[in-house]
């Protein structure tokens, strides 16, 4: 054919540069030195004027981090230079609750990313984190009146210390893994959400994470508590400038869904390809509750992320929908975990991975059904689409079942875009890039159809950009 696969994909990143890859000059209120130390932790904690228990928690976490070896599975994290990273940058002295109150270049960044526009149209609340701090935060007033709390994590700790102290680090212990320990030591920003019993937050709450400085480390910390019969949909988006040296994003997200509640957590991760994205996400689902992770991974250099659900209550239901797209130089080690502890719990994990131009995308998952989880049901489907010979897909489905009267299904497929399929689409007038993008959009459709329209459109647009090249 006239256009080769290589030509299709060679333009990747050109659009990222314009849309997301820009950076603005640094004019910060406070920037820590490079590297990690107990002194740094004291500096962060003092800056934030934290209670003593949190300072101690941070110091202890740093000890855990130092004691743990780097993981030797998943992706290659051995090149992360922990001494070269800026762990804490506070861009502004105070948080704003109107966009106009932000410094011009920061406001301009959010304008370019379309966040104020999105807030007007379809969001119930917005948090915008720039480097280490949430610089803008707002929740619709009627939700505030209904008792919904949507704060940045630092404000959450100041204003709701009792709740935070009760749950913080309980779903994901500080020594859970090396990167959770790192986050626990140097965390800053992120969201704190509490939805009172019976309250349905109809429109999504969105948090937007932006790295601007080179060699930045962003360590947001999110805690969401959905009380009995309540509902919330939380969305996060992430972008960063393109630099030649690496940045690190290592978040921890803990979620508690109480009886009959439902939480949906949607991520559209579009970090630039110099960002290590090593995130721990875990939810506990109590009786008859529902937890859903919708996890879209399009950017980053390496992502290791396996959103997990512990089904602790009778009848709890969990879903993980994961998309991973790996282009040149990218490794997406994504997946999901479902742990069934209580009877009649159910889970569905659907993973779709796409790799092209030498990228590596995979599924790594755990399904565990513990003794006593009678009548548990689980289904794991992982499909991989490989777009060329240089690219790679891996599937690591771990399954452990300790109960008899349960049902567990696992399906996996690997496919390629066939020459015949492309010819068919091109014979209708679509260019090779358009035809490939159409096959890919169709492949991920079971997941994009679960997204609110605006995000589905954005996801499809991002996929199209990834597939273009000869055109752009």
């Amino acid at each position: 054919m006239a256009v080769t696969e290589t030509e299709i994909v060679k333009g990747i990143g050109s659009d990222y540069e314009v849309k997301y890859g820009f950076h603005v000059p640094e004019d910060y209120f406070f920037k820590s030195g490079r590297g990690l130390s107990h002194e740094l932790i004291d500096a962060i904690s003092s800056h934030k004027d934290e209670p003593d228990w949190m300072r101690k928690f941070r110091h202890k976490s740093l000890e855990y981090f130092n004691a743990r070896p780097l993981p030797r599975w998943g992706g290659d994290v051995s090149r992360i230079d922990f001494e070269n990273i800026f762990y804490y940058i506070r861009p502004t002295e105070k948080q704003a609750n109107s966009w106009e109150d932000l410094p011009a270049d920061i406001k301009d960044t959010w304008d370019k990313l379309g966040i104020p526009e999105a807030e007007k149209k379809y969001l119930a609340g917005v948090g915008a984190q720039y480097e280490s701090e949430v610089v803008y935060h707002k929740l619709q007033e009627d939700l505030t009146r209904q008792g919904v709390l949507f704060l940045d994590m630092d404000s959450g700790l100041r204003e709701q210390e009792d709740i935070v102290k009760r749950y913080f680090g309980k779903v994901i212990p500080q020594n859970d893994n090396k990167f959770a320990a790192l986050n626990s030591a140097v965390w800053s920003g992120g969201s704190f959400i509490y939805v009172p019993p019976g309250v349905h937050v109809e429109m999504p709450l969105q948090a937007y994470f932006r790295i601007n400085a080179e060699n930045m480390g962003q360590f947001e910390r999110t805690l969401i508590i959905v009380d009995e019969g309540a509902y919330v949909h939380y969305v996060e988006g992430c972008t960063a400038p393109i630099y030649t040296s690496d940045s690190l994003h290592s978040a921890v997200v803990e979620i508690i869904v109480n009886k009959g509640g439902r939480c949906r957590y949607t991520t559209i991760q579009n970090w630039s390809t110099n960002v290590y994205n090593l995130v721990t996400k875990r939810a506990v689902a109590h009786e008859d509750s529902t937890m859903e992770w919708v996890d879209g991974n399009l950017g980053s250099k390496l992502t290791m992320k396996y959103p997990s659900i512990w089904l602790l209550g009778d009848g709890a239901h969990g879903e993980v929908l994961s998309i991973a797209f790996a282009g040149k130089g990218q490794h997406q080690d994504a997946g999901g975990k479902a742990v069934h502890v209580a009877p009649r719990t159910s889970s569905v994990i659907t993973s779709k991975s796409i790799s092209k131009n030498g990228g590596r995308a995979g599924y790594r998952g755990l399904l565990e059904i513990a003794k006593g989880a009678h009548g548990a049901k689980s289904k794991v489907v992982c499909d991989a689409l490989i777009l060329d010979e240089e690219s790679r897909s891996d599937t690591y489905p771990y399954i452990r079942i300790d109960e008899n009267d349960v049902s567990a299904e696992h399906e996996a497929t690997v496919s390629k875009i066939g020459e015949e399929q492309l010819f068919y689409l091109m014979s209708r007038g679509l260019s090779e890039a358009e035809a490939s993008a159409m096959v890919v959009s169709g492949f991920v459709e079971p997941i994009t159809k679960e997204l609110p329209l605006e995000y589905a459109v954005e996801m499809n647009r991002l996929i199209q950009l990834q597939m273009e090249g000869s055109v752009g």
Partner: protein
Amino acid sequence: MAALEIKNLHVALEDGTEIVKGVDLSVNPNEIHAIMGPNGSGKSTLAYALMGHPGYQITEGEILFDGEDLVQMSPDERAQRGLFLAFQYPHAIPGVTVTSFLRSAINAVRKANAGGEDDPIPVPEFRKDLLEAMDQLKVPRELAGRYVNDGFSGGEKKRVEILQMAMLKPKIAVLDETDSGLDIDALKIVAQGVQSLVGPEMGTIVITHYQRILNHIEPDHVHVFLGGGIVEEGGPELAHKLEAEGYEGFSSNGKEPA
């Protein structure tokens, strides 16, 4: 000059094996040409080569479309100029609905015709055209929301091929064994659909093994295709002769490919 002019066309597989050995054919709007031949005679290879399938090499000859040589063009460029192929075995595109596929295809063609500028069809116009075409071809409405050819029956696939043709409004449509795998009712509907689309705006080449579809689509010209070439040409009566006598009466040696 005809809309589609095929001159001394030779087509070979990637390994060099020649399948089509010198074909001449001219097709205009308002004309129905039937190419009839047994399995393995090279009819489908001719169809694929016309559309630009990458697995077939044109080793000699020309394909002129409104005087422009298609041979170096990619399949999408050929489609954008008004050539269409109804596939014998249409491919499934999971996750892409018939509606969304059709809209994308129409918009791709419109964009090309607008010199590369986006010129999307207004949604109400698209909806109206689609519903009319579906009613005419008796395509069940629910098919519009299903994924292209994914789990379709043989008859549904063929009907959706003709639906695509009706929506894309090509100048010349090549129908590759569209009659195969259709029961008689489906065959009638498809044939009537094709017949109704042929007119001042469209001409067609109906490639078939059997006379059957020609009971419902009256061809203006019949070409008997054997051993990679056209061995005899005539009017509709030739199809009846074939039906009565079979292909044994013709030999690829009896008449050198024109």
